[in-house]
Protein backbone atom coordinates (compact mmCIF):
# COMPACT_ATOMS: atom_id res chain seq x y z
CA UNK A 1 0.00 0.00 0.00
CA UNK A 2 1.33 3.43 -0.88
CA UNK A 3 2.29 5.98 1.75
CA UNK A 4 0.07 8.49 0.05
CA UNK A 5 -3.00 6.30 0.51
CA UNK A 6 -1.98 5.78 4.17
CA UNK A 7 -1.75 9.49 4.76
CA UNK A 8 -5.08 10.20 3.11
CA UNK A 9 -6.75 7.33 4.99
CA UNK A 10 -5.51 8.84 8.25
CA UNK A 11 -6.88 12.25 7.27
CA UNK A 12 -10.23 10.79 6.22
CA UNK A 13 -10.53 8.84 9.48
CA UNK A 14 -9.88 12.01 11.48
CA UNK A 15 -12.40 13.91 9.38
CA UNK A 16 -15.04 11.21 9.88
CA UNK A 17 -14.42 11.14 13.64
CA UNK A 18 -14.85 14.93 13.79
CA UNK A 19 -17.94 14.75 11.61
CA UNK A 20 -19.69 11.99 13.51
CA UNK A 21 -18.38 13.11 16.92
CA UNK A 22 -20.93 12.46 19.63
CA UNK A 23 -22.94 10.04 17.47
CA UNK A 24 -20.12 7.51 17.78
CA UNK A 25 -20.10 5.09 20.63
CA UNK A 26 -16.99 5.21 22.83
CA UNK A 27 -16.00 1.73 21.67
CA UNK A 28 -15.77 2.76 17.99
CA UNK A 29 -12.40 3.97 16.78
CA UNK A 30 -12.23 4.97 13.14
CA UNK A 31 -9.24 3.70 11.17
CA UNK A 32 -8.27 2.76 7.64
CA UNK A 33 -10.17 -0.54 7.80
CA UNK A 34 -13.38 0.91 9.20
CA UNK A 35 -16.33 -0.05 7.03
CA UNK A 36 -18.53 3.00 6.46
CA UNK A 37 -21.78 1.10 6.33
CA UNK A 38 -21.20 -1.95 8.56
CA UNK A 39 -19.12 -0.30 11.31
CA UNK A 40 -20.47 3.24 11.26
CA UNK A 41 -23.98 2.57 10.02
CA UNK A 42 -23.79 5.32 7.43
CA UNK A 43 -26.62 5.42 4.92
CA UNK A 44 -25.70 5.87 1.26
CA UNK A 45 -26.82 9.51 1.34
CA UNK A 46 -24.45 10.18 4.27
CA UNK A 47 -21.60 8.52 2.40
CA UNK A 48 -22.32 10.72 -0.61
CA UNK A 49 -22.29 13.85 1.57
CA UNK A 50 -18.92 12.78 2.97
CA UNK A 51 -17.63 12.18 -0.55
CA UNK A 52 -18.69 15.71 -1.51
CA UNK A 53 -16.61 17.05 1.39
CA UNK A 54 -13.66 14.93 0.29
CA UNK A 55 -13.96 16.23 -3.27
CA UNK A 56 -13.93 19.84 -2.06
CA UNK A 57 -11.07 19.30 0.37
CA UNK A 58 -8.73 17.55 -2.10
CA UNK A 59 -10.09 19.40 -5.16
CA UNK A 60 -10.80 16.18 -7.02
CA UNK A 61 -13.91 14.75 -8.63
CA UNK A 62 -14.82 11.13 -7.97
CA UNK A 63 -16.95 9.33 -10.55
CA UNK A 64 -19.93 7.40 -9.14
CA UNK A 65 -18.81 4.13 -10.72
CA UNK A 66 -15.51 4.33 -8.82
CA UNK A 67 -17.42 4.55 -5.53
CA UNK A 68 -19.61 1.54 -6.10
CA UNK A 69 -17.13 -0.94 -4.62
CA UNK A 70 -15.67 1.36 -1.94
CA UNK A 71 -16.50 0.00 1.51
CA UNK A 72 -13.76 1.18 3.86
CA UNK A 73 -11.93 4.38 4.66
CA UNK A 74 -8.90 2.90 2.91
CA UNK A 75 -10.94 2.22 -0.24
CA UNK A 76 -11.94 5.89 -0.36
CA UNK A 77 -8.37 7.00 0.33
CA UNK A 78 -7.06 4.87 -2.54
CA UNK A 79 -9.55 6.51 -4.92
CA UNK A 80 -8.52 9.98 -3.77
CA UNK A 81 -4.82 9.07 -4.16
CA UNK A 82 -5.41 7.96 -7.74
CA UNK A 83 -7.38 11.10 -8.54
CA UNK A 84 -4.65 13.30 -7.05
CA UNK A 85 -2.16 11.45 -9.21
CA UNK A 86 -4.25 12.16 -12.29
CA UNK A 87 -4.41 15.86 -11.60
CA UNK A 88 -0.76 16.19 -10.55
Amino acid sequence: MSTRTDTIAHELAASLAARLGPELGAEIRIGAETDLSRDLGLESIQVMEFVEEIEDHYDVSIALERLSKARTVRDLAAIVAVELGHSA
Binding site: E43, S44, I45, Q46, M48, E52, E55, D56, D59, V60, S61, I62, A63, L64, E65, S87
Partner: protein, 401 residues
Protein backbone atom coordinates in the same frame (compact mmCIF):
# COMPACT_ATOMS: atom_id res chain seq x y z
CA UNK B 1 -26.57 -17.75 -0.99
CA UNK B 2 -28.84 -18.52 -3.91
CA UNK B 3 -30.20 -16.37 -6.72
CA UNK B 4 -33.35 -15.34 -4.91
CA UNK B 5 -31.81 -14.53 -1.53
CA UNK B 6 -31.30 -10.99 -2.71
CA UNK B 7 -35.04 -10.49 -2.16
CA UNK B 8 -34.63 -10.92 1.62
CA UNK B 9 -34.51 -7.17 2.20
CA UNK B 10 -37.62 -6.60 0.09
CA UNK B 11 -39.37 -9.50 1.88
CA UNK B 12 -38.52 -7.93 5.24
CA UNK B 13 -39.80 -4.55 4.05
CA UNK B 14 -43.06 -6.08 2.86
CA UNK B 15 -43.48 -7.94 6.15
CA UNK B 16 -42.81 -4.79 8.19
CA UNK B 17 -45.36 -2.82 6.16
CA UNK B 18 -47.83 -5.68 6.57
CA UNK B 19 -47.34 -5.76 10.36
CA UNK B 20 -47.76 -2.01 10.62
CA UNK B 21 -51.04 -2.29 8.72
CA UNK B 22 -50.00 0.74 6.66
CA UNK B 23 -48.76 0.07 3.16
CA UNK B 24 -48.86 3.08 0.82
CA UNK B 25 -47.62 0.92 -2.04
CA UNK B 26 -50.91 -1.01 -2.10
CA UNK B 27 -53.39 1.81 -2.46
CA UNK B 28 -56.07 0.84 -4.97
CA UNK B 29 -58.12 3.50 -6.68
CA UNK B 30 -61.36 1.60 -7.00
CA UNK B 31 -63.00 4.28 -9.07
CA UNK B 32 -61.66 7.53 -10.44
CA UNK B 33 -64.42 10.11 -10.34
CA UNK B 34 -62.65 13.19 -11.71
CA UNK B 35 -59.07 14.56 -11.89
CA UNK B 36 -59.36 15.40 -8.18
CA UNK B 37 -61.64 12.74 -6.66
CA UNK B 38 -61.57 8.96 -6.34
CA UNK B 39 -63.13 6.13 -4.39
CA UNK B 40 -60.53 4.36 -2.22
CA UNK B 41 -61.47 1.70 0.33
CA UNK B 42 -65.10 2.44 -0.50
CA UNK B 43 -64.88 6.09 0.50
CA UNK B 44 -64.66 9.37 -1.46
CA UNK B 45 -61.15 10.78 -1.34
CA UNK B 46 -59.73 14.12 -2.50
CA UNK B 47 -56.67 13.50 -4.66
CA UNK B 48 -53.74 15.82 -3.94
CA UNK B 49 -50.94 13.64 -5.20
CA UNK B 50 -51.53 13.05 -8.89
CA UNK B 51 -49.22 15.52 -10.74
CA UNK B 52 -52.30 16.12 -12.90
CA UNK B 53 -51.36 19.79 -12.99
CA UNK B 54 -53.80 21.00 -15.64
CA UNK B 55 -56.53 18.50 -14.77
CA UNK B 56 -56.96 17.36 -18.38
CA UNK B 57 -57.53 13.64 -17.76
CA UNK B 58 -61.29 14.03 -18.19
CA UNK B 59 -61.28 16.93 -20.64
CA UNK B 60 -64.13 16.22 -23.12
CA UNK B 61 -61.98 17.10 -26.16
CA UNK B 62 -59.17 14.79 -25.05
CA UNK B 63 -61.65 11.99 -24.37
CA UNK B 64 -63.25 12.47 -27.78
CA UNK B 65 -59.85 12.39 -29.51
CA UNK B 66 -58.96 9.17 -27.67
CA UNK B 67 -62.28 7.52 -28.50
CA UNK B 68 -61.95 8.45 -32.16
CA UNK B 69 -58.41 7.07 -32.35
CA UNK B 70 -59.51 3.81 -30.72
CA UNK B 71 -62.33 3.43 -33.24
CA UNK B 72 -60.27 4.36 -36.27
CA UNK B 73 -56.79 3.03 -35.43
CA UNK B 74 -57.32 0.21 -32.95
CA UNK B 75 -55.94 -0.48 -29.50
CA UNK B 76 -52.21 -0.66 -30.12
CA UNK B 77 -49.39 -0.47 -32.63
CA UNK B 78 -48.07 -3.94 -31.70
CA UNK B 79 -44.44 -3.05 -32.36
CA UNK B 80 -41.69 -0.48 -32.53
CA UNK B 81 -41.61 2.33 -35.06
CA UNK B 82 -38.34 1.07 -36.53
CA UNK B 83 -39.79 -2.37 -37.22
CA UNK B 84 -43.50 -1.73 -37.75
CA UNK B 85 -43.44 1.84 -39.01
CA UNK B 86 -44.66 5.10 -37.55
CA UNK B 87 -48.31 6.04 -37.38
CA UNK B 88 -49.14 9.47 -38.75
CA UNK B 89 -50.04 10.52 -35.19
CA UNK B 90 -46.52 9.82 -33.90
CA UNK B 91 -45.10 12.18 -36.50
CA UNK B 92 -47.81 14.77 -36.00
CA UNK B 93 -47.11 14.86 -32.26
CA UNK B 94 -43.37 15.24 -32.95
CA UNK B 95 -44.06 18.14 -35.33
CA UNK B 96 -46.36 19.76 -32.76
CA UNK B 97 -43.76 19.42 -29.97
CA UNK B 98 -41.02 20.85 -32.19
CA UNK B 99 -43.26 23.78 -33.08
CA UNK B 100 -44.21 24.32 -29.42
CA UNK B 101 -40.57 24.60 -28.34
CA UNK B 102 -39.46 26.44 -31.48
CA UNK B 103 -36.79 23.85 -32.20
CA UNK B 104 -36.59 21.70 -35.34
CA UNK B 105 -36.16 18.26 -33.76
CA UNK B 106 -38.45 16.17 -31.56
CA UNK B 107 -38.72 12.51 -30.66
CA UNK B 108 -41.56 10.71 -28.92
CA UNK B 109 -40.97 7.76 -26.55
CA UNK B 110 -43.41 5.31 -24.99
CA UNK B 111 -42.68 6.40 -21.37
CA UNK B 112 -40.99 9.28 -19.60
CA UNK B 113 -38.44 6.88 -18.17
CA UNK B 114 -37.82 5.62 -21.69
CA UNK B 115 -37.31 9.17 -22.96
CA UNK B 116 -34.51 9.73 -20.44
CA UNK B 117 -32.98 6.33 -21.00
CA UNK B 118 -33.35 6.54 -24.77
CA UNK B 119 -31.80 9.97 -25.19
CA UNK B 120 -29.06 9.72 -22.56
CA UNK B 121 -27.89 6.32 -23.79
CA UNK B 122 -27.62 7.79 -27.26
CA UNK B 123 -25.88 10.98 -26.13
CA UNK B 124 -23.42 9.47 -23.64
CA UNK B 125 -20.79 6.78 -24.01
CA UNK B 126 -17.23 5.82 -23.21
CA UNK B 127 -15.02 8.86 -22.79
CA UNK B 128 -17.93 11.23 -22.08
CA UNK B 129 -18.89 12.74 -18.73
CA UNK B 130 -22.30 13.29 -17.18
CA UNK B 131 -22.58 15.96 -14.49
CA UNK B 132 -25.72 15.07 -12.60
CA UNK B 133 -27.66 17.06 -9.98
CA UNK B 134 -27.54 15.06 -6.74
CA UNK B 135 -31.36 15.09 -6.41
CA UNK B 136 -32.08 14.13 -10.01
CA UNK B 137 -34.84 11.61 -10.73
CA UNK B 138 -34.00 7.91 -10.62
CA UNK B 139 -34.48 7.61 -14.39
CA UNK B 140 -31.71 10.18 -14.93
CA UNK B 141 -29.40 8.32 -12.53
CA UNK B 142 -30.17 4.99 -14.17
CA UNK B 143 -29.66 6.35 -17.67
CA UNK B 144 -26.37 8.12 -16.86
CA UNK B 145 -24.92 5.28 -14.79
CA UNK B 146 -25.57 2.66 -17.45
CA UNK B 147 -24.50 4.84 -20.39
CA UNK B 148 -20.77 4.07 -20.23
CA UNK B 149 -19.93 7.70 -19.38
CA UNK B 150 -18.19 8.79 -16.20
CA UNK B 151 -20.84 10.21 -13.87
CA UNK B 152 -20.13 12.99 -11.39
CA UNK B 153 -22.74 14.31 -8.97
CA UNK B 154 -22.89 17.99 -8.14
CA UNK B 155 -24.64 19.33 -5.05
CA UNK B 156 -28.35 19.85 -5.56
CA UNK B 157 -29.08 23.18 -7.30
CA UNK B 158 -25.56 24.40 -6.50
CA UNK B 159 -23.85 26.11 -9.47
CA UNK B 160 -20.62 26.53 -7.49
CA UNK B 161 -20.41 22.76 -7.00
CA UNK B 162 -21.05 22.26 -10.72
CA UNK B 163 -18.44 24.91 -11.56
CA UNK B 164 -15.75 23.02 -9.61
CA UNK B 165 -16.50 19.76 -11.39
CA UNK B 166 -16.46 21.40 -14.81
CA UNK B 167 -13.17 23.14 -14.01
CA UNK B 168 -11.58 19.87 -12.90
CA UNK B 169 -12.54 18.24 -16.20
CA UNK B 170 -10.38 20.72 -18.12
CA UNK B 171 -10.61 20.07 -21.87
CA UNK B 172 -12.89 17.10 -21.19
CA UNK B 173 -15.66 19.56 -20.27
CA UNK B 174 -16.39 19.78 -23.99
CA UNK B 175 -17.51 16.15 -23.79
CA UNK B 176 -19.60 16.78 -20.69
CA UNK B 177 -23.39 16.81 -20.48
CA UNK B 178 -24.93 18.66 -17.53
CA UNK B 179 -28.08 16.79 -16.52
CA UNK B 180 -30.67 18.43 -14.29
CA UNK B 181 -34.39 19.12 -13.94
CA UNK B 182 -36.61 22.19 -14.11
CA UNK B 183 -38.94 21.89 -11.11
CA UNK B 184 -37.84 19.01 -8.91
CA UNK B 185 -40.53 16.49 -8.18
CA UNK B 186 -40.45 16.09 -4.39
CA UNK B 187 -40.02 19.56 -2.93
CA UNK B 188 -41.02 21.56 -6.00
CA UNK B 189 -37.74 23.50 -5.86
CA UNK B 190 -36.43 25.11 -9.03
CA UNK B 191 -33.07 24.63 -10.73
CA UNK B 192 -31.01 27.83 -11.18
CA UNK B 193 -30.95 27.18 -14.93
CA UNK B 194 -29.72 30.69 -15.77
CA UNK B 195 -26.53 30.20 -13.78
CA UNK B 196 -26.15 26.61 -14.97
CA UNK B 197 -26.48 27.80 -18.59
CA UNK B 198 -23.73 30.39 -17.97
CA UNK B 199 -21.41 27.62 -16.78
CA UNK B 200 -22.32 25.43 -19.73
CA UNK B 201 -21.39 28.26 -22.10
CA UNK B 202 -18.21 29.12 -20.21
CA UNK B 203 -16.86 25.57 -20.34
CA UNK B 204 -18.28 24.58 -23.73
CA UNK B 205 -20.34 21.74 -22.24
CA UNK B 206 -23.90 20.66 -23.12
CA UNK B 207 -27.08 21.05 -21.07
CA UNK B 208 -29.92 18.53 -20.74
CA UNK B 209 -33.02 19.54 -18.72
CA UNK B 210 -35.84 17.23 -17.64
CA UNK B 211 -38.99 19.37 -17.56
CA UNK B 212 -41.35 16.53 -16.59
CA UNK B 213 -42.92 18.59 -13.78
CA UNK B 214 -42.51 21.98 -15.47
CA UNK B 215 -44.32 21.42 -18.78
CA UNK B 216 -47.64 23.24 -18.70
CA UNK B 217 -46.70 24.81 -15.38
CA UNK B 218 -44.02 27.44 -16.09
CA UNK B 219 -43.46 30.02 -18.80
CA UNK B 220 -45.81 32.36 -20.60
CA UNK B 221 -46.40 29.72 -23.27
CA UNK B 222 -46.22 26.85 -20.81
CA UNK B 223 -43.17 25.04 -22.18
CA UNK B 224 -41.45 24.99 -18.80
CA UNK B 225 -38.88 26.56 -16.50
CA UNK B 226 -36.35 26.88 -19.33
CA UNK B 227 -38.74 29.33 -21.01
CA UNK B 228 -39.64 31.09 -17.75
CA UNK B 229 -35.96 31.79 -17.00
CA UNK B 230 -35.25 32.93 -20.57
CA UNK B 231 -32.59 30.32 -21.34
CA UNK B 232 -34.26 28.40 -24.17
CA UNK B 233 -31.52 29.30 -26.65
CA UNK B 234 -28.81 28.01 -24.29
CA UNK B 235 -30.24 24.57 -23.55
CA UNK B 236 -29.32 21.65 -25.81
CA UNK B 237 -31.90 19.02 -24.93
CA UNK B 238 -35.24 19.18 -23.12
CA UNK B 239 -37.07 16.02 -22.15
CA UNK B 240 -40.54 15.80 -20.74
CA UNK B 241 -43.39 13.45 -20.06
CA UNK B 242 -46.96 13.10 -21.24
CA UNK B 243 -48.01 11.64 -17.88
CA UNK B 244 -48.39 14.83 -15.87
CA UNK B 245 -49.78 18.03 -17.42
CA UNK B 246 -50.81 16.14 -20.58
CA UNK B 247 -52.69 13.44 -18.68
CA UNK B 248 -51.49 10.37 -20.62
CA UNK B 249 -48.30 8.26 -20.69
CA UNK B 250 -45.15 8.68 -22.74
CA UNK B 251 -42.22 11.03 -23.05
CA UNK B 252 -40.34 13.18 -25.53
CA UNK B 253 -37.10 14.95 -26.26
CA UNK B 254 -36.73 18.19 -28.24
CA UNK B 255 -33.53 19.85 -29.37
CA UNK B 256 -32.05 22.38 -31.77
CA UNK B 257 -29.33 19.82 -32.66
CA UNK B 258 -29.88 17.77 -35.83
CA UNK B 259 -28.25 14.82 -34.03
CA UNK B 260 -31.55 14.27 -32.19
CA UNK B 261 -32.89 13.16 -35.56
CA UNK B 262 -30.21 10.47 -35.61
CA UNK B 263 -31.00 9.19 -32.11
CA UNK B 264 -33.67 6.95 -33.61
CA UNK B 265 -30.90 4.86 -35.17
CA UNK B 266 -28.78 4.62 -32.03
CA UNK B 267 -31.24 4.52 -29.14
CA UNK B 268 -31.99 0.95 -28.12
CA UNK B 269 -34.95 1.91 -25.88
CA UNK B 270 -36.48 3.61 -28.93
CA UNK B 271 -35.65 0.88 -31.42
CA UNK B 272 -36.80 -1.99 -29.21
CA UNK B 273 -39.88 -0.57 -27.47
CA UNK B 274 -43.38 -0.75 -28.91
CA UNK B 275 -44.52 2.70 -29.95
CA UNK B 276 -47.24 4.56 -28.03
CA UNK B 277 -50.82 3.43 -28.73
CA UNK B 278 -52.86 5.59 -31.12
CA UNK B 279 -55.33 6.64 -28.41
CA UNK B 280 -52.46 7.74 -26.14
CA UNK B 281 -50.95 9.80 -28.95
CA UNK B 282 -54.36 11.28 -29.78
CA UNK B 283 -55.18 12.37 -26.21
CA UNK B 284 -51.65 13.72 -25.75
CA UNK B 285 -51.87 15.74 -28.94
CA UNK B 286 -55.24 17.16 -27.94
CA UNK B 287 -53.99 17.93 -24.43
CA UNK B 288 -51.04 19.79 -25.95
CA UNK B 289 -53.51 21.80 -28.05
CA UNK B 290 -55.46 22.59 -24.87
CA UNK B 291 -52.28 23.55 -23.02
CA UNK B 292 -51.35 25.96 -25.81
CA UNK B 293 -54.82 27.40 -26.40
CA UNK B 294 -55.98 27.78 -22.80
CA UNK B 295 -53.49 29.70 -20.66
CA UNK B 296 -56.32 30.06 -18.15
CA UNK B 297 -55.62 26.45 -17.09
CA UNK B 298 -52.15 27.49 -15.98
CA UNK B 299 -53.49 30.62 -14.32
CA UNK B 300 -56.00 28.52 -12.37
CA UNK B 301 -53.24 26.12 -11.32
CA UNK B 302 -51.20 28.99 -9.91
CA UNK B 303 -54.22 30.53 -8.16
CA UNK B 304 -54.88 27.17 -6.53
CA UNK B 305 -51.24 26.73 -5.58
CA UNK B 306 -51.26 30.21 -4.04
CA UNK B 307 -54.43 29.48 -2.06
CA UNK B 308 -52.97 26.27 -0.60
CA UNK B 309 -49.60 27.87 0.06
CA UNK B 310 -51.01 30.90 1.85
CA UNK B 311 -53.36 28.83 3.98
CA UNK B 312 -50.61 26.45 5.10
CA UNK B 313 -48.20 29.27 5.84
CA UNK B 314 -50.95 31.05 7.81
CA UNK B 315 -51.17 27.92 9.95
CA UNK B 316 -47.46 28.21 10.67
CA UNK B 317 -46.03 25.72 8.19
CA UNK B 318 -42.67 26.98 6.92
CA UNK B 319 -42.79 26.33 3.18
CA UNK B 320 -40.54 29.15 2.02
CA UNK B 321 -40.87 31.06 -1.25
CA UNK B 322 -41.74 30.80 -4.00
CA UNK B 323 -45.33 29.54 -4.29
CA UNK B 324 -45.26 26.30 -6.29
CA UNK B 325 -47.74 23.57 -7.26
CA UNK B 326 -45.67 20.82 -5.61
CA UNK B 327 -45.02 20.86 -1.88
CA UNK B 328 -42.91 18.49 0.19
CA UNK B 329 -43.77 18.53 3.89
CA UNK B 330 -41.32 16.73 6.21
CA UNK B 331 -42.99 14.01 8.28
CA UNK B 332 -40.29 12.91 10.70
CA UNK B 333 -39.08 9.34 10.95
CA UNK B 334 -40.52 6.48 8.91
CA UNK B 335 -43.05 5.10 11.46
CA UNK B 336 -44.36 8.59 12.18
CA UNK B 337 -44.57 9.33 8.44
CA UNK B 338 -46.56 6.15 7.80
CA UNK B 339 -48.98 6.96 10.64
CA UNK B 340 -49.57 10.51 9.43
CA UNK B 341 -50.06 9.40 5.83
CA UNK B 342 -52.63 6.79 6.96
CA UNK B 343 -54.44 9.29 9.15
CA UNK B 344 -54.73 11.64 6.18
CA UNK B 345 -56.15 8.88 3.99
CA UNK B 346 -58.63 7.99 6.72
CA UNK B 347 -59.68 11.63 6.81
CA UNK B 348 -60.34 11.59 3.04
CA UNK B 349 -57.11 12.99 1.57
CA UNK B 350 -54.68 11.17 -0.70
CA UNK B 351 -51.17 12.57 -1.06
CA UNK B 352 -47.87 10.85 -1.86
CA UNK B 353 -45.64 9.44 0.86
CA UNK B 354 -41.96 9.51 -0.04
CA UNK B 355 -39.64 7.52 2.16
CA UNK B 356 -35.83 7.20 2.02
CA UNK B 357 -34.07 6.35 -0.25
CA UNK B 358 -36.69 7.73 -2.68
CA UNK B 359 -36.71 11.10 -0.89
CA UNK B 360 -34.02 13.70 -1.53
CA UNK B 361 -32.24 14.19 1.80
CA UNK B 362 -32.85 11.09 3.86
CA UNK B 363 -36.08 12.47 5.37
CA UNK B 364 -39.63 11.27 4.86
CA UNK B 365 -41.94 13.65 3.02
CA UNK B 366 -45.60 14.08 2.25
CA UNK B 367 -45.80 15.33 -1.31
CA UNK B 368 -48.81 17.36 -2.36
CA UNK B 369 -49.43 18.34 -5.95
CA UNK B 370 -52.13 20.83 -6.83
CA UNK B 371 -54.24 20.79 -9.98
CA UNK B 372 -56.03 23.44 -11.98
CA UNK B 373 -59.05 21.16 -11.52
CA UNK B 374 -59.16 21.52 -7.71
CA UNK B 375 -62.04 23.68 -6.51
CA UNK B 376 -61.57 26.27 -3.79
CA UNK B 377 -63.66 24.10 -1.48
CA UNK B 378 -61.40 21.12 -2.14
CA UNK B 379 -58.31 23.17 -1.36
CA UNK B 380 -59.88 24.39 1.88
CA UNK B 381 -60.71 20.78 2.72
CA UNK B 382 -57.12 19.73 1.98
CA UNK B 383 -55.86 22.44 4.36
CA UNK B 384 -58.28 21.40 7.10
CA UNK B 385 -57.31 17.74 6.83
CA UNK B 386 -53.63 18.63 6.96
CA UNK B 387 -54.28 20.82 10.00
CA UNK B 388 -55.93 17.92 11.79
CA UNK B 389 -53.35 15.28 10.89
CA UNK B 390 -49.93 16.90 10.62
CA UNK B 391 -48.25 16.80 14.02
CA UNK B 392 -46.66 20.20 13.42
CA UNK B 393 -50.10 21.79 12.77
CA UNK B 394 -52.22 20.20 15.48
CA UNK B 395 -52.00 23.24 17.73
CA UNK B 396 -52.88 25.62 14.87
CA UNK B 397 -56.25 27.35 14.89
CA UNK B 398 -58.76 26.17 12.25
CA UNK B 399 -58.86 28.34 9.15
CA UNK B 400 -61.96 30.42 8.53
CA UNK B 401 -64.23 28.85 5.90
Amino acid sequence: MNLLDKFDAARALEAALGESGIDPTRVVIERIVSPTEAIIEGRPIILAGTNNYLGLTFDPRCLEAGHRALDELGTGTTGSRMANGSYAGHQELERELADFYGWPYAMVFSTGYGANLGTLWALLGDGDCALLDADAHASLYDACRTSGAEVYRFRHNDPDSLDKRLRRLGERAKRALIVTEGMFSVLGDLAPLDRIAELKDHYGAYLFVDEAHSLGVFGERGTGLVEALGVTDRVDFIVGTFSKSLGATGGFCVSPHPELGLVRYTSRPFVFTASPSPSVIATTLEALHQLRARPELRQRLWRNAGRLFEALEALGLKLGPPVRPVLGIPLGDKPAALRTWRELLDSGLYANLLLPPASPDGNSYLRLSISAAHTSRQIDAIVERLRSSLPQLRSAEPTSP
